[in-house]
């Protein structure tokens, strides 16, 4: 079965006819040529396909494109403004928060979404009382970024980069 949908990707509108079984990730990569979300596992296990869907971080491989009709999708290549990197991206560059870089577009989208979750006062799964204002220390950064695998093991620098980006965004 096919459906006509409209995807708004990185500020541009795309009318699209999709097989209803198409994931958002495949629609982005194979239909629209937006290859910044990467395919690492196809099963929501690695986080390389993380994008922001109406501002929330999601795994592009676990969402059907047809369910995103009319939604705003931002990928890593759409994070920056006026040719400037997003502060999170700049922090990843400055602190060497990656090696091969394959997980990086997902990491930066995840970090951007996560910082907004913290700013909005969302609790993590860390078992703190829900009433607490979240304190984004290193342990909490690790907890909240744990859905994005990095096989190069650049985690120490990812923590540093996210911490630095948090300082900038204050």
């Amino acid at each position: 079965m096919e459906s006509d949908i409209i995807l708004r990707v990185n500020g541009r509108e795309w009318p699209l006819r999709v097989d209803t079984r198409t994931t958002l990730l495949d629609a982005l990569r194979e239909r629209l040529g937006v290859t910044s979300p990467k395919k690492g596992c196809d099963h929501g296990q690695c986080g390389a396909c993380t994008v922001l869907l109406d501002g929330r971080r999601i795994n592009g491989c676990l969402v059907l494109a047809v369910a995103c009709d009319g939604s705003e999708v931002v990928t890593a290549e759409g994070l920056g403004t006026d040719g400037e990197l997003h502060p999170v991206q700049q922090a990843f560059v400055d602190h060497d928060g990656f090696q091969c870089g394959y997980c990086t577009p997902g990491q930066v989208c995840s970090a951007v979404g996560m910082l907004e979750e913290v700013a909005a006062g969302w609790p993590s799964a860390a078992g703190r009382p829900v009433a607490d204002t979240p304190v984004l220390d290193d342990a909490e950064i690790r907890e909240r970024m744990s859905g994005n695998l990095c096989r190069c093991g650049a985690y120490a620098n990812i923590v540093t980069a996210v911490r630095a980006a948090k300082e900038v965004s204050r």
């Binding site: 910044s36 979300p37 099963h43 990843f92 091969c100 690790r142 985690y155």
Partner: protein
Amino acid sequence: MASTSTRAPVGLSSVTRDGIGASPRRPDGTLKVTGEFAYSSDMWMEDMLWGATLRSPHPHAEILGIDVSGALRLPGVYAVLTHEDVPGEKRYGLEYRDQPVLAFGKVRYKGEPVAIVAADHPETARRALERIKVDYRVLEPVSDARRAALDPDCPLVHEEGSLPLHEEHNQRGNRVRYQPIRTGAFADGASVEEVRALADVVVTGEYEVGMQDQAFLGPESGLAVPAEDGGVDLYIATQWLHVDQRQIAPCLGLPADKVRLTLAGVGGAFGAREDLSMQIHACMLALHTGKPVKFVYNREESFFGHVHRHPATMRYEHGAKRDGTLVYATMEIVLDGGAYASATPAVVGVASSLGIGPYEVPHVSVDAYGVYTTNPPCGAMRGFGAVQACFGYESQMDRLAAELGMDPVDLRIKNAVSQGSRIITGQEIDMPMPMAEMLRRAREMPLPPDRSSLPAPSDPRTLPGGVANTSHGEGIVRGIGYGVGLKNLCFSEGFDDYSTARVRLEVVGGEPAVTVHTAAAEVGQGLVTVKGQIARTELGVERVTILPSDTRVGSAGSSSASRQSYMTGGAVKTACEAVRERVFALVRERGLVEDGHPDALLSLSGGKVVSAAEGVLISLADLLGGEAIEETREYHHRPTQMLDPSRGQGSSHTQFGMCVHRAVVDVDVELGLVKVVALDAVQDVGKVMHPQQLAGQIQGASAQGLGLALMEEIQVHDGVIRNPSFTDYLIPTILDTPPMRIDVLEHPDPHAPYGLRGAGEPPTLSSTPAIVAAVRNATGRPLTHAPVRPEDIVGIDPPQG
């Protein structure tokens, strides 16, 4: 030089930023954080077809027939090819040509490619695979590597006479390579019983290392484009373009120059891209259909699409004097190479020669076997044979320390190698090896605070089990452990392991600019950054462009064995020196210095030619004008030797690297869960080229060692992989990876460019035994299997079936 006094200096101080020792940003960094960096899976051509691979469902079977007609009838299918369609050589291989491009006669592992399809959509290609009928007669799998090594009645994986024989590797039956090493009394024929009598204390141990997956995040992929000259252009993520070319071309029946490779973005490698995966398949389909063909494996297929780390079983015996002085050691190691040789011969060479580790032992006997089985093929993975042995010998050192009642660090220091020591192959360690100092430094690093002093000891984020809320902190025991690993760096055993660099200096837009061209694979290690740093340092020019890596320049060798900073770094340095000599010749030609002025007094810095005596002579822009200077150089390391086949003697290695780890763990002894609290490392790298990237290499290697210690194992039962997904094959997350303190030493290796030592592998060796030792320290369990499983900690038998 009176004449120079009349020349106005352009500027007396000249510096070049971002040379070696600095931490400039990665040149590919911006594209990687925006996601615009094109990995092999991102390649796209409008008229391209999608390739797919039919794989054997059986670990061992005879192929009675293949019928592709049903697949060919499916609309959208352009080609279905089998072994009959391979245009040239039917087999390929890294060291031995023993692996079929597409299976013929027999399949020897589950997942072996049998047929390939090109179709207009990946889904069409997948459906076409379902329509290929293969008639198999299933054979008994050969899944026990020990039996394959030692039982002459074990069925053969490869028929007698079907493989090229390598006498120097003692091949027999299923043995790909058998390497004995005998030193001291063992070399004179003494028996273990006789040597054992020399020792006061004897410890024995049997250890296993599971099959580890490289698990790079960017699965195998590539794009083959047919060319008008009858050749093919392949855009591919690999570790060594030229060895791919050398294997692909004969199978396609083409001369090498008609198979042109360009490196596409590499989403991690760690050894898994040293062998071919879809390269020949994509080229065959592209040549057959006349259209570009793209392959992308998914995660499950990736588990079948590349070689893994050899699982190993090891038996050790160590004897020592009462004061801890080692007297003798024996080791038997069986490495399961799976169905095809891949890098098994070289892995055996490393595992045997480094089998006893960095210790002075007068009498040693090693028997190392690499064997064929019908298990998944195994080959290169970061650490390459040294990882398995390190888990064995370091476990033994702890066992011996316990038996002697000695501190495990003191025991290691007492027997430590140092510069001038000989390893068991007779090779002298002719470079600094301050192992005792490194161990002391590791021991003296500050320890993380006790659990009792944490502000919130019941914060689940600090507990094994994390926010799964498995406990409130009861039943948690802390442990500390150490590990030391000795790794060979660069290729070994007589291999002429060279790299090539082409360096061009010219003036662009009024500024001097350097272009560096090599075929070296950037796999995330940061070689592109280091190449630029070397060019800046050697030529005093800040503006450096690194050209894409391809086969239009000579081989760079592999991005393996921690060798690229050394080898391609050496090649770039040598080519820069050749360019610099020509610059200085030009300076003399122009009369800017007197004839006979020694080059040693000249240098390039800040885009200028500088004399030690007189300051700036001229800017490169003025000197060169429209002229370009280009030089290509090969860099070779000193020659190495094969190990002799009977006693394993020979200077087989180029360079040695060492890392020491101290691990601190909290173990939930009731649930068998472990949290690594700290994983601190001391490593001697000779010379720090890029401090930031170096730290990343050490942290990343340590994390992969952590994975092998606690979670990573491909479960193979009767030749079948049971966990080919990231749900069931676990790799460390950011939560599993603790803060790491890193202490880097710089004792230069006089044989290496800048004195550097390859740095990417040594921490992979030592972090695994350090973590397992810490868990043993906490639990008192023997823990002889890496990775440690919860049932090992709790002390119950693993689930059966």
